[in-house]
């Protein structure tokens, strides 16, 4: 395998657009009156926007409350990594208290992003429950956190990086990248 080689991930997975449709179908039964969807920047927010359209148009569920989180300030590796260049304000335009929150992320890996997102949510209020929806679970969790809904589950090596990409016309795709071998400690995946 050549290092740093970016290629589409469809040899192992359906296309991101197909997976998105599967995710919307699986998500539908979870929606109740008191549910709010929260996308995690940036892939989770792309998914959130597409899911809202799918759910509202095809399944006729309207006015789903939603928001976005940028978990940079809550990451456990902040001191090492610092801020990303394009850090966006979190926007939670509804009362979190007693809501059933569904977090949306693109690729579930270690669970550290989810932990950061949960910590941030609790600074807005006390939700009734939090669930996690991810497009792909790539394996490799480091915390006792698992997504409740995924469109695909695969097992990737620690040297592989799976990433959701949005092109200029909004089309979503998954890219698989082989990282140069590093020492196993101190990995800082998304």
């Amino acid at each position: 395998m050549s290092s740093n080689n970016i290629k589409p991930a469809d040899s192992q997975l359906a296309s991101a657009e197909e997976l998105l449709k599967t995710l919307a179908k699986k998500l539908q039964p979870l929606l109740q009156a008191n549910t709010a969807l929260v996308g995690i920047q940036s892939g989770g927010v792309w998914l959130l926007q597409r899911l809202l359209v799918l759910l509202e148009k095809d399944i006729a569920i309207h006015a789903i409350e939603h928001g976005t989180l940028d978990v940079s300030f809550y990451r456990d590796d902040y001191e090492k990594r610092g801020l990303k260049a394009e850090n966006r304000p979190s926007q939670i335009p509804f009362d979190v208290d007693n809501k059933h929150i569904i977090l949306i992320d693109d690729v579930f890996y270690t669970g550290r992003t989810t932990r950061a997102a949960m910590n941030e949510l609790f600074d807005y209020g006390r939700p009734a429950s939090i669930s996690l929806v991810a497009l792909v679970n790539r394996g490799g969790r480091e915390l006792p956190i698992v997504p409740q809904i995924t469109a695909a589950d695969i097992a990737l090596e620690a040297t592989q990086n799976l990433q959701l990409v949005q092109n200029s016309d909004g089309h979503l795709s998954l890219e698989l990248q082989s990282l140069p071998l590093q020492s196993s400690s101190g990995s800082t995946p998304e």
Binding site: Y78, E79, G82, L83, R88
Partner: protein, 320 residues
């Protein structure tokens, strides 16, 4: 040339002056501050970024607003904060600045926020401290007050998002003002096309036009068609000798009244770094009027200081 404010990767290591900072860093601070404005509106007004860190406010010169907002900013980032008014402590017993700093480093301080009446004090401390410690200049003599300059830019951007299309006037005691210097450098770095300074000759530094500003001695002429009016405080405590006939006389010629403000664009905004001398540089009706954004400046000052501290504390483990 080696820039003491940036590390080898071009990231912010100390904030000492606006001068010498690239536009990219200024914009990054302003953008990061946007995220912190929202934090203050939540149920829990805190993020855990500086948890376990100790921020030391070293104020060798009096300040209420700046010290308080730095203190609130550090606390909202979950840092532990120590505020020292050094006039009243060991310095008055003869301890040198560097001895004071070394003692606080021995107590494991991680960040210093420094205000001093001597220009260059924060640079002096920044040169002295070990690598993992960060210094923020909270005002040094007549030289620089970078977080004030940044919060003014943030405030302007909130009301007038297109900085490339603005006419800005800075009015008053430019000679003694570190705020004016920081504002001028910030405005020109961010690409504001026309910056004016309006003041009597006695309150302007020599060759001020070399900073890229247009000089006016007449308030009415200078205010014509500006989008932003940035007032400065008349710094009586820094004046030695007769620079002005009297505060009343100054108000007559350079005090901002509604009548004079009407010469600016109808939607012009008025800023003042505080503390205000009402009836000297600014009329109460303007300070409390519809065009004043003086209190929003204070609120945004917290977000800016949070952004600066967050950027200094993060990213110490190499390129992300």
């Amino acid at each position: 040339m080696n820039n003491p404010q940036l590390d080898t990767d071009g990231r912010l290591r100390h904030l000492l002056s606006i001068e010498g900072l690239p536009k990219k860093i200024l914009n990054q601070i302003l953008d990061t501050a946007e995220s912190f404005v929202g934090v203050a509106e939540r149920e829990v007004k805190k993020v855990p970024l500086l948890r376990g860190k100790t921020v030391c406010n070293l104020f060798f010169e009096n300040s209420t607003r700046t010290r308080t907002t730095f203190e609130i900013a550090a606390k909202r980032l979950s840092a532990d904060v120590i505020s020292l008014n050094v006039n009243t402590s060991s310095q008055s017993k003869g301890e040198t600045i560097l001895d004071t700093v070394d003692n606080l480093i021995a107590m494991h301080a991680d960040m210093f926020v420094v205000r001093h009446s001597q220009s260059g004090a924060a640079h002096f401390i920044a040169k002295h401290v070990p690598n993992h410690i960060h210094v923020i200049n909270a005002g040094d003599g007549r030289h620089s007050h970078p977080t004030q300059g940044l919060l003014d830019m943030f405030t302007i951007r909130k009301y007038k998002p297109d900085l490339h299309n603005l006419r800005v006037a800075i009015v008053g005691d430019v000679l003694h003002s570190r705020v004016a210097r920081s504002e001028i450098h910030a405005l020109t770095t961010l690409g504001v096309p026309e910056v004016r300074v309006i003041a009597p000759k006695t309150l302007l530094p020599a060759h001020v036009e070399k900073l890229g500003v247009h000089v006016f001695h007449d308030l009415q002429a200078g205010l014509k068609d500006v989008d932003v009016v940035m007032m400065l405080r008349l710094q009586n405590e820094r004046m030695n000798g007769a620079m002005l006939p009297s505060p009343q006389e100054y108000f007559k010629t350079y005090g901002l009244t509604q009548e004079k403000l009407n010469l600016a664009k109808p939607d012009a905004i008025v800023l003042h770094p505080g503390p205000m001398n009402r009836g000297v540089e600014i009329d109460s009706s303007v300070a409390d009027g519809a065009q004043s954004v003086i209190l929003p400046q204070v609120t945004y000052g917290i977000a800016i200081r949070m952004a600066v501290m967050a950027m200094l504390a993060g990213g110490q483990g190499g390129q992300a």
